[in-house]
C-alpha cells in the first residue's frame, strides 16, 4: 500500500492511500505524514475513502501521526472512513480524538 502526499493549502496536506492499513502498511503512513510535516505542512488530513480495512496497528500509526502533527504545531484529521474503519474508531473510543469528516475539503474549512 502506497501513500501520496498532496498539498492543498498554505500549511495543509492530505495523505491518501488505497488498500489495507495494517502492520504492513503502517510504516508507510508514518513516513508520508513525516514528509508532509517536513514540508512545512503540519495540518494534515488523512483521506481514508479508499482504505477498506484498518487494524490496531493502523490505528496506532494514526495516533503516532496525530502526536507528530501536534508536536509540529499542527493537527491531524481523518476523512471519509469506511464502515470497518469507523467501527474500529468507535471500539477504541477514539472517534472523538480522531473525529471523522465527510471529505478532505471539509476537514479544514476552519
Amino acid at each position: 500500500m502506497e501513500f501520496h502526499v498532496r498539498e492543498i493549502g498554505a500549511d495543509v496536506a492530505s495523505v491518501e492511500g488505497q488498500g489495507r492499513l495494517n502492520s504492513v502498511s503502517a510504516p508507510a503512513l508514518r513516513a508520508s505524514v513525516d514528509r508532509a510535516i517536513d514540508g512545512e505542512r503540519p495540518r494534515i488530513v488523512v483521506d481514508l475513502s479508499r482504505v477498506e480495512f484498518m487494524d490496531s496497528s493502523g490505528l496506532g500509526a494514526l495516533i503516532a501521526s496525530l502526536k507528530a502533527a501536534r508536536s509540529a504545531g499542527g493537527d491531524l484529521r481523518i476523512a471519509a472512513p469506511s464502515k470497518q474503519v469507523s467501527m474500529v474508531l468507535q471500539l477504541s473510543n477514539l472517534d472523538r480524538v480522531l473525529k471523522p469528516y465527510e471529505s478532505v475539503e471539509e476537514a479544514y474549512v476552519d
Partner: protein
Amino acid sequence: MTDESLLIDAPPDDLNDVHDYLERVFFSHPEVNEKDRMEFETAVIELAGNVIQHAVTGSSVRAVLVVTVEPEYLAGCISDSSDAVRSVLGKTDMPDESAESGRGIPFIRALVDGLQYERRNDRNYWRIQKRISV
C-alpha cells in the same frame, strides 16, 4: 463446514495473505451478513497480527489458520510454532487514547464471543468464535 486452511510462513508471508484468504472464504459464503463478517475478519486479523508479530521481531513463524463457517457461528483457529505466550489473554481494557499499541486483544474480546489459548506439543493453539446474529 470447514474451508481450506492457510499456511503462513512469515516472512515472506504477511497479514495481506490472511486478508486474501478471508476474502476467498467469504466469497464462498455470501450468506454471512456484512456486520458479522466485518467484526469476525477484524478479530482474525488482530489474532493473526499477534502471531506474525514474532516474525517481525526477528524469528520466523510458521502458522496454520483455518476458518470455519457454520450456520450458527464463525470460528477461526490458528496454531503456530512460536514460544509460549504469557499474560496476553488477561488484557481486556482498552488502553489510553494516546497509546499506539495494546488494542489487539481488547478488540478481539469486544468483537467475538470466545477467545481461547492453549499450549500443546510445543505449539500455540488459538481459537476465536463468533455467533452469527439473527
